[in-house]
């Protein structure tokens, strides 16, 4: 390898390793937090940090744009060196960033003396299950006969794969069980992990990056199936999700229930996956990158 090729390889590696995925994760976490606080804000005149979170999200968006500019500048420099054609464009991995398992060592250590204590009972459990019942039309499963607490998935990425599997089988009862079977924090986390996944799947379905002109096509491809699996979801929730995918401003509306967006986004993910004929296991960050089709008739 010549010195020039070595330099090119180093620059490509730097470009590929820019933290675009982490910035996307941060943006989506902040958006989910804003959604939750907006819901609380309906009962209060207190801004509860919502304007500040709006600022934070805007800064994260600008950071993401600056990272894209950096990648473009590196690509331009490589082209100037005559190296661009050598590069096999690496598959875009950002869409999976939010699905990565959290590293245990990144979690804060429990306070001394609290290592063995049970977590406090979840306050939002009934609030979450009530809304899941309204959305899916499926009542929560009855408590187990032996009184033991139900086994709950604590991993949002795992929940997303389960929901996608339920969508694929068209089994609304299973979908309801899976959504009832998590705590509110895990369920609400769906809002944060799904946006990049949805945009990627929609892009694969359309054969190009989704834009405002694709809104109707996506609505036609997914709307009916989402509605049949989630008969209680407000139409505006799906419209807002599709508008975000297509990078078009959603229509003005009152703050929605935070669970609506989380649940609907997960079902929409499952519907798009099914339209692409992909297995829910392809949502596993460790799964091989699915082949991007040239465009599927939506």
């Amino acid at each position: 390898m010549s010195l020039l090729q070595e330099l090119g390889a180093q620059l490509r590696a730097t470009s590929d390793e820019l933290p675009t995925g982490l910035v996307t994760v941060a943006m989506e976490r902040l958006r989910t937090a804003t959604e939750l606080l907006n819901w609380v804000r309906q009962t209060s005149v207190d801004p509860i940090g919502v304007p500040q979170l709006g600022n934070a999200t805007e800064h994260a968006e600008h950071a993401a744009a600056a990272l894209r500019l950096t990648q473009d500048a590196i690509a331009a420099y490589l082209a100037a060196l005559g190296l661009a054609a050598d590069a096999g464009t690496p598959p875009d991995q950002d869409w999976k960033a939010g699905l990565e398992k959290k590293d245990k060592q990144d979690e804060p250590a429990p306070a001394p003396g609290q290592e063995e204590q049970q977590p406090p009972p979840e306050q939002l459990g009934p609030w979450w299950r009530e809304r899941v019942e309204k959305l899916t039309g499926e009542a929560p499963p009855p408590p187990q006969a032996n009184g033991a607490p139900p086994e709950r998935t604590a991993d949002t990425a795992e929940l997303l794969r389960r929901v996608a599997a339920g969508v694929r089988s068209g089994d609304r009862a299973r979908l309801g069980r899976d959504l009832h079977g998590v705590n509110a924090a895990t369920g609400l986390g769906l809002s944060a992990v799904t946006p990049p996944v949805l945009r990627r799947l929609a892009g694969d379905l359309l054969g190009h990056e989704p834009g405002p002109d694709d809104l109707q096509r996506l609505r036609g491809a997914a709307g009916g199936r989402v509605k049949s699996l989630l008969p209680g979801t407000p139409p505006a929730t799906l419209d807002t999700l599709l508008a975000r995918i297509c990078r078009t401003p959603p229509a003005e509306q009152a703050p929605a229930h935070p669970a609506d967006s989380a649940v609907t986004a997960s079902v929409l993910t499952g519907v798009l996956l099914a339209r692409l004929g992909r297995d829910p296991a392809t949502l596993d960050p460790g799964a091989p990158e699915p082949l991007r089709p040239r465009g599927v008739d939506a």
């Binding site: 820019l18 982490l22 941060a26 902040l30 207190d46 940090g49 500040q52 994260a60 950071a63």
Partner: protein
């Protein structure tokens, strides 16, 4: 009508999301620092416009993330003040 316990729990859930967002921001800034060093070492002495643009946009990304983190701190403070009044 939501109960006080539900409101408090919803704010807590939001703050958990903010905390995870902050962790991602900090991790991104660390990676950015590594990228800046790597670019500086590889492109030392280059006068190419694209190199200047890459340095400038990396620096801008870092500044935006710093301001993003600062804004989240203010948001957390306001949300905690709110829950203290419930």
């Amino acid at each position: 009508m939501a109960s006080v316990a539900e409101l408090r729990a919803a704010v807590d859930a939001a703050l958990q999301q903010v905390t995870e967002g902050q962790a991602a921001i900090q991790a991104a800034r660390e990676k950015l620092g590594e990228a800046q060093q790597s670019l500086a070492a590889a492109l030392d002495g280059s006068a190419n416009d694209a190199v200047g643009a890459a340095h400038a946009s990396l620096s801008q990304a870092d500044q935006q993330l710093e301001e993003c983190f600062g804004a989240t701190l203010l948001a957390v403070e306001q949300a905690q003040t709110y829950t203290a009044t419930l």
